[in-house]
C-alpha cells in the first residue's frame, strides 16, 4: 500500500490541492482530520533508495518549498522531519493526526504569530586580535618580552600566543553574552546552535535559532544593526523560516 510523505501539519478542515510542487514533481495535497490538515504526497510502498546525492539535495529544497508554501497558505505550520513517509495511505495519516491531535493543536497554538530566524555572529579574527594586543596590558608586556632572538624571548612569544588565545576566547564570550542579552528580551525562545566553519575571512562565534513574535522582528533587526556596527563584527540573519527548530518536543 502506498505511503504518504508528510511535509507539515496545519490547522484546517478542507482537503486542498497545492499542485505538482512536491518532491520529484509529485502532487501535494492535504489530508484533513478533525480540524487538522497534513500536507502530503503519495509515495510508493517500496520507496526508491536515495544514494544519489544531487537528488537528495533536490528533495531537501523541494521539501522546504512545500513547507514554505503551506506556511503562506495556512499562516502557521508544524514542520515534520525530512523524509517521513507514513504507512497505510490516507488512513494512516488520519490515524496519526487522531492519535496526536491534542499535541499538534497545542504546538500550532504555540507557534501562531511566530517566526523563526537564524542568527549568526562573525568576527574578523585578525582585527580583534590586533585590538586586544594593543588594549590588554598583559599581552603588551608579553609582546615586549618576546622581542629579540633569545631563548627567553622565544618562550615569551609562545606564552603570548597562549595568552592571546585565552583573551580571544574571553572576548568571544563577552560578545556572545552581550548579543544574547539583546536578543533574549525580544525572543520567545532561543536555541544555541553549533558554530560552523566559514570560507570567508570571518570566524563564526555565535549561531542561534530564534523564535520571535512577528511584531518583534523589526525590533530585533534594529538591535542587530547596532551589533553590526561594532568594529570587526558582522551579523547575518536568515529567515523568516517556519518554526523548524521549535516544534520537536
Amino acid at each position: 500500500m502506498e505511503g504518504r510523505y508528510i511535509y507539515c501539519v496545519a490547522e484546517g478542515g478542507e482537503e486542498l490541492s497545492l499542485g505538482g510542487i512536491g518532491i520529484e514533481g509529485t502532487r501535494v495535497y492535504t489530508v484533513a482530520f478533525n480540524g487538522l490538515s497534513a500536507v502530503v504526497h503519495n509515495a510508493p510502498a517500496d520507496l526508491p533508495d536515495c544514494r544519489n546525492r544531487e537528488k537528495v539535495i533536490d528533495w531537501v529544497v523541494a521539501h522546504q518549498e512545500v513547507v514554505d508554501m503551506a506556511w503562506h497558505m495556512f499562516g502557521t505550520v508544524i514542520p515534520i522531519r525530512f523524509h517521513t513517509v507514513i504507512k497505510e495511505g490516507t488512513e494512516g495519516v488520519k490515524g496519526w493526526l487522531a492519535g496526536n491531535h491534542g499535541e499538534l493543536l497545542k504546538k500550532i497554538g504555540l507557534m501562531k504569530g511566530r517566526e523563526e530566524y537564524g542568527l549568526q555572529l562573525f568576527w574578523n579574527t585578525d582585527l580583534v586580535a590586533g585590538r586586544l594586543m594593543e588594549g590588554v596590558q598583559a599581552l603588551k608586556e608579553l609582546k615586549a618580552k618576546g622581542e629579540g632572538g633569545s631563548g627567553a624571548a622565544y618562550m615569551h612569544g609562545q606564552l603570548l600566543q597562549k595568552a592571546l588565545k585565552r583573551e580571544m576566547e574571553r572576548e568571544a564570550v563577552r560578545f556572545f553574552e552581550d548579543i544574547y542579552e539583546r536578543v533574549k528580551d525580544l525572543a520567545e525562545r532561543i536555541i544555541i546552535e553549533e558554530v560552523k566553519a566559514t570560507d570567508s575571512g570571518l570566524q563564526m562565534i555565535m549561531n542561534l535559532s530564534v523564535l520571535l513574535r512577528t511584531e518583534r522582528c523589526d525590533d530585533m533587526k534594529e538591535e542587530l544593526e547596532i551589533v553590526d556596527r561594532m568594529e570587526g563584527i558582522a551579523v547575518r540573519h536568515t529567515g523568516p523560516w517556519p518554526p523548524y527548530s521549535f516544534v520537536d518536543r
Binding site: 505511503g3 508528510i6 507539515c8 501539519v9 509515495a43 510502498a45 520507496l47 533508495d49 536515495c50 544514494r51 544519489n52 546525492r53 544531487e54 537528495v56 539535495i57 531537501v60 529544497v61 521539501h63 522546504q64 513547507v67 508544524i78 514542520p79 515534520i80 522531519r81 525530512f82 523524509h83 517521513t84 513517509v85 507514513i86 504507512k87 494512516g92 490515524g95 496519526w96 504546538k107 523563526e116 530566524y117 537564524g118 546552535e193 553549533e194 560552523k196 566553519a197 566559514t198 570560507d199 533587526k221 542587530l224 544593526e225 553590526d228 558582522a234 551579523v235 547575518r236 540573519h237 536568515t238 529567515g239 523568516p240 523560516w241 523548524y244 527548530s245 516544534v247 520537536d248
Partner: protein
C-alpha cells in the same frame, strides 16, 4: 553588513540543511516506512557540500550525519 533578512536566493545550502534535515516533528517509528538507502542520506549530503572545502575540513556535517543515522536506522518491522 547588509541587514536585510537574507532573501531566499541568499540562503545557502548549509542554512537549508541546518533547518530541514534534522529538525521538525519526528513521527513514531512504527508508523513510518523505512527506506533502503535512507541511512545514507546524511553521507550523501555531506558529500554534496564537499565543494565547501572548509566545511569538510572541519567535519561540520559529521554531526548531522550521525544524528540522521540515529533517527533513521532503527527500523522496526
Amino acid at each position: 553588513m547588509d541587514m536585510e533578512p537574507a532573501p531566499k536566493g541568499n540562503v545557502t545550502l548549509v542554512d537549508l540543511l541546518e533547518r530541514v534535515l534534522d529538525k521538525g516533528v519526528v513521527v513514531d517509528a512504527d508508523l513510518v516506512i523505512c527506506v533502503a538507502g535512507i541511512p545514507l542520506v546524511g553521507v550523501n549530503l555531506r558529500a554534496a557540500v564537499a565543494g565547501m572545502e572548509t566545511m569538510v575540513k572541519y567535519g561540520v556535517m559529521e554531526e548531522w550525519d550521525s544524528e540522521i543515522r540515529v533517527t533513521e536506522e532503527p527500523c522496526p518491522g
